[in-house]
Amino acid sequence: MVLKETRKGEMHPMTMAELQEKVCSILAENLSVPEGQVTPEARFQEDLDADSLDLVEAVLALEEEFGVTIPEDEMEGVRTVGQAINLVAQKLGVAA
């Protein structure tokens, strides 16, 4: 479970919405695309111009940020940002 600090300084479990926002922001930064383009529906290759190497680099950034390990075989089949968000959520135990 990932805790997130609220404005009042209290810790609470990260919600799916917060996770989604964080993942999208990391991907936007890593893939050098405007944040508005990185939505759960966005496809890495077609919509975000991310080739296979870009995707590996983006996964490294997610692993670094969330302290998780995402093996290559689990990334296979990940085509959209939403799928990547779900994968991270699953690793962190964030409820959908």
Binding site: D54, L60, E63
Partner: protein
């Protein structure tokens, strides 16, 4: 056989960026050397370098390309785009347009950054872009991609002769009909603690603490070269094609001489035999006699060994005419851009012919009896230059000489 002309020049140097800025500062004796700011040089044996400070890679590449490429590629793309614009952005057959882009070292800073990741975070954190960022041929590949040129493409990695090799090989591609147009260049971005330490351990770098005074080729008190970064590119073109489109022609590439010292991995052959052989080969291809040479842009690194051996070589290759020939080292202002130097300096030789101005050797104060030629000391000189040589010699014993001549249609 076809004649080959220079129609575009793109310098990205510590002295200036773009032909106008660069040439104005180079002919006014402006030094591009400063205290190192790329990293904390406290405790380093040498704390000066020729850094480029006013360069924004975002002006030349997309934000994603900037992140996925080494600084040496940033310089290469900028130089190539500047040269292409300078050439008037000609319409070309992409399959007949080549790219020869060299470097001495390549993406070393990217390699080192990822090596740190490997040691600190493990193999699973190493970037998938490490290999394409470090490889020396990345610039040649990226320049081709930037323009869509699918003609012959390569990177010749011959240390400080690399940029000149690129110009020479591009010249041959056009001369023998394998391409119609080429972008030829060299790039380097290796001002790093490791390279400063390594070159300093070789006793190759100047220990002079005064940045603007440290690079002093042919001066008696020279004590080593100044490590620099930058890139240079030239657009070479089949002469008939250039004339047909009404291109502005700086000069003709008339000859290319290349040789090896076969003597020592870093020290020049003391009699300059390899350099003489390369100068003679360039003259022979140009169909010129030594007496026809008006100007030599010397390799002139500011090391004791190079400048003495190069002077000896010029005197043997040119005979008495050596004393009537203007010889200057623009490394006195740019510092030594390693693999970029030869490409930048071939551009200087072409500009000298086109502009009728010889850039000086600055910091020339005390004559040395083993360096007794006319080094165009300290101030630029107006002169009609018809035939110029650009010398470039590299660790490994590589010697390259490019002969440039005023183009007479």
């Amino acid at each position: 056989m076809r004649r080959v002309v220079v129609t575009g020049i793109g310098p990205v140097t510590p002295v200036g960026i773009g032909v106008e800025d660069f040439w104005e500062k180079l002919t006014s004796g402006h030094s591009g050397v400063s205290l190192i700011s790329h990293f904390d040089a406290e405790g380093m044996p040498v704390r000066i370098a020729g850094e480029i400070h006013d360069f924004k890679p975002e002006d030349w590449l997309t934000p994603k390309e900037v992140k996925r490429t080494d600084r040496c590629v940033h310089f290469a793309i900028a130089a190539a785009k500047l040269a292409w614009k300078d050439a008037g952005e000609p319409t070309v057959d992409h399959a007949r347009t080549g790219v020869m882009f060299s470097t001495g070292i390549g993406g070393l800073s990217s390699l080192l950054a990822q090596h740190k990741v490997l040691l600190e975070k493990g193999p699973d954190r190493v970037s998938p872009f490490m290999v394409p960022m470090l490889m020396p041929n990345a610039s040649a590949g990226h320049v081709a991609m930037a323009f869509g040129f699918t003609g012959p493409n390569a990177c010749i990695t011959t240390a400080c002769a690399a940029g000149a090799h690129a110009v020479g090989e591009a010249f041959r591609l056009i001369k023998y009909g394998l391409a119609d147009v080429c972008i030829a260049g060299g790039t380097e971005a290796s001002i790093l603690p490791l390279t400063v330490a390594g070159f300093a351990q070789m006793q190759a770098l100047s220990r002079n603490p005064d940045p603007a005074k440290a690079s002093r080729p042919f001066d008696k008190h020279r004590d080593g070269f100044v490590l620099s970064e930058g890139a240079g590119a030239m657009v070479l073109e089949d002469a008939d094609r250039a004339m047909a489109r009404g291109a502005r022609i700086y000069a003709e590439v008339a000859g290319y001489g290349a040789s090896a010292d076969a003597h020592h991995i870093t020290a020049p052959e003391p009699e300059g035999l390899g350099a003489i052989q390369a100068m003679q080969a360039a003259l022979e291809e140009a169909g010129e006699s030594p007496e026809a040479i008006d100007y030599i842009n010397a390799h002139g690194t500011s090391t004791q060994l190079n400048d003495a051996a190069e002077t000896r070589a010029i005197k043997k290759a040119l005979g008495d005419h050596a004393y009537k020939t203007a010889v200057s080292s623009t490394k006195s202002m740019t510092g030594h851009m390693l693999g970029a130097a030869g490409a930048v300096e071939a551009g200087v030789a072409a500009l000298t012919i086109a502009q009728g101005t010889i850039a000086p050797t600055v910091n020339y104060e005390t004559p040395d009896q083993v360096c007794d030629l006319d080094y165009v000391p300290n101030v630029a000189r107006q002169a009609q230059v018809r035939l110029a040589l650009s010398n470039a010699f590299g660790f490994g014993g590589h010697n390259v000489v490019i002969a440039l001549r005023r183009f007479e249609g």
